[in-house]
Amino acid sequence: MSFINYASREINCKIVYYGPGLCGKTTNLQFVYQKTAADAKGKMISLATETERTLFFDFLPLALGEIRGFKTRFHLYTVPGQVFYDASRKLILKGVDGVVFVADSQEERMEANIESVENLRINLTEQGYDLDKIPYVVQYNKRDLPNVVSVEELRKELNPTNVPDFEACATTGEGVFETLKAVAKLILVDLKKGK
């Protein structure tokens, strides 16, 4: 649910990067953060423990154009990917406007991808959302690695509803902005429809 700040004339939208552990969610955010002009972004907050897990969230307000005189500000979050931090994932999904599912293209992570998509659907349903109705895009990350599954196979397993999907290599930034722009666009379309 986007939050409208009338005082500052801003619409705040929440984008959550979801996916299995170490699939590159934080790397996506870090790349966006690095490439965004200093005056267009807020402070990035990362809550990591001593074992370098992304335990809570990364936070990146990012100004992107205006809708009817209101500026849009996107807040980008990641969830902890490890399978046992489900409570944190549920918490972070509250009030979400759009989701990016980051898949790890490596063959040995296919089961983790499938489990994570199922988990995303369940957690959204618990919050009263429907994955088939909210702005949602899929990113097949780590395409530069040698042991990757083909995009066709990934698509078949992880994107049966054919939402916009992108190949990426978040470490070099390839596909990162394409993914973000796609989900942002879907959110803006959604916002305009709602007015």
Partner: protein
């Protein structure tokens, strides 16, 4: 009239006076698919006169019979496959043991061997490797029967066929095995790929369909049913009723969750995992993560599954064994 095979899109010229009131069953002589036609789907389009000659797939290669060896532990499976191949000019030999099958290959030098992987006394891939090591058997084409797979798990095309020429999944045997054998004995490219390309009719020929009498059709259908039953028995070994199937699915999900928990622990703690395995302190060093993993497993997996199984423990043991192998311990 002109008819088109629903599978490979090969076109046939056909005398429509042969179609009875019940329709007629035909088998495509190009891809061997059985299909039925009736007068309702009649297409009066005239047959092109400038048709190319029948493609080589339609004809049996040479006068002598194609020798096919089938090696599978199950005698009923071998019989069902033999029945599928019966209408062809093939000499079919069946074996239920890996060693026997290999000896037979050395003796009879078949054109094709259809080889299961899980064979008694010698595994299929060992048979495969032995055949490939023998220069006298270089001409033998090997088709592996894909190993039993778990339908609930992700699978992908095999990266290695142990030197075999092709592989086939059981459920594709009734429809694709014959065309695959012809393809290999005549060194042809797969017909499906070129023939299925929409709009590309240049490579299509006018070939005569084969007529099957009622008994032949029944025998084929019976063989298909046997193969299907065989596959279902193997892929779902203990259960048949829906309740039991649901329970099997729940077991598979529990196993998958266990594997993911363990793989996550390993991914996030690679140094600790290695150290723990080297020093035999794995469970102590990773105590916190293991506790969290166990807690999740207990929350997500129903008690009735947990009380009779130890999937999480098995997944840990599996990881330790694999890592030990990697580290050459």
């Amino acid at each position: 009239m002109l008819i088109i095979c629903p599978s490979c899109k090969a076109r046939f010229s056909f005398d429509d006076s042969r179609i009875g009131p019940q329709g007629i069953k035909l088998r495509c002589s190009k891809c061997r698919t059985i299909f039925s036609i009736s007068r309702k789907v009649e297409n009066p389009a005239p047959v092109s006169v400038a048709a190319p000659p029948a493609p080589p797939t339609a004809a049996a290669p040479a006068a002598q019979k194609v020798k096919v060896v089938i090696a599978n532990e199950s005698a009923s499976f071998c019989a069902a496959v033999a029945k599928i191949l019966e209408p062809e000019p093939f000499e079919v030999l069946t074996y239920n043991d890996g060693k026997e099958a290999f000896e037979a290959v050395q003796r009879v030098r078949p054109d094709v061997i259809l080889l299961d992987v899980a064979l008694p006394s010698m595994y299929g891939f060992e048979v495969c490797e032995r055949i490939r090591q023998d220069p006298a058997l270089a001409a033998v084409k090997i088709i592996l029967i894909a190993a039993i797979y778990d339908k609930t798990r992700y699978k992908r095309s095999p990266a290695s066929l142990y030197g075999a020429d092709d592989y086939i999944e059981k459920h594709h045997i009734p429809d694709s095995l014959v065309s695959m054998i012809y393809r290999h004995v005549t060194n042809q490219k797969p017909v499906e790929k070129s023939a299925k390309e929409e709009g590309n009719t240049a490579g299509e020929g006018l070939v005569k369909p084969q007529y099957l009498n009622r008994q032949e059709v029944d025998a084929q259908l019976d063989a298909r049913r046997q193969i299907q039953a065989d596959e279902e028995r193997e892929t779902m070994p203990q259960v048949a009723p829906p309740a039991a199937q649901a329970s099997s699915q729940a077991h598979e999900k529990a196993k998958r969750l266990a594997r993911i928990i363990v793989s996550d622990i390993m991914l996030y703690n690679q140094a600790k995992v290695e150290e723990g395995i080297k020093n035999g302190t794995f469970y102590t060093l990773l105590e916190d993560d293991i506790r969290e993993g166990r807690a999740l497993y207990e929350r997500r997996v129903p008690e009735e599954i947990r009380k009779d199984t130890s999937f999480l423990q098995a997944a840990f043991e599996d990881l330790i064994a694999k890592k030990k192998q990697e580290l050459k311990l």
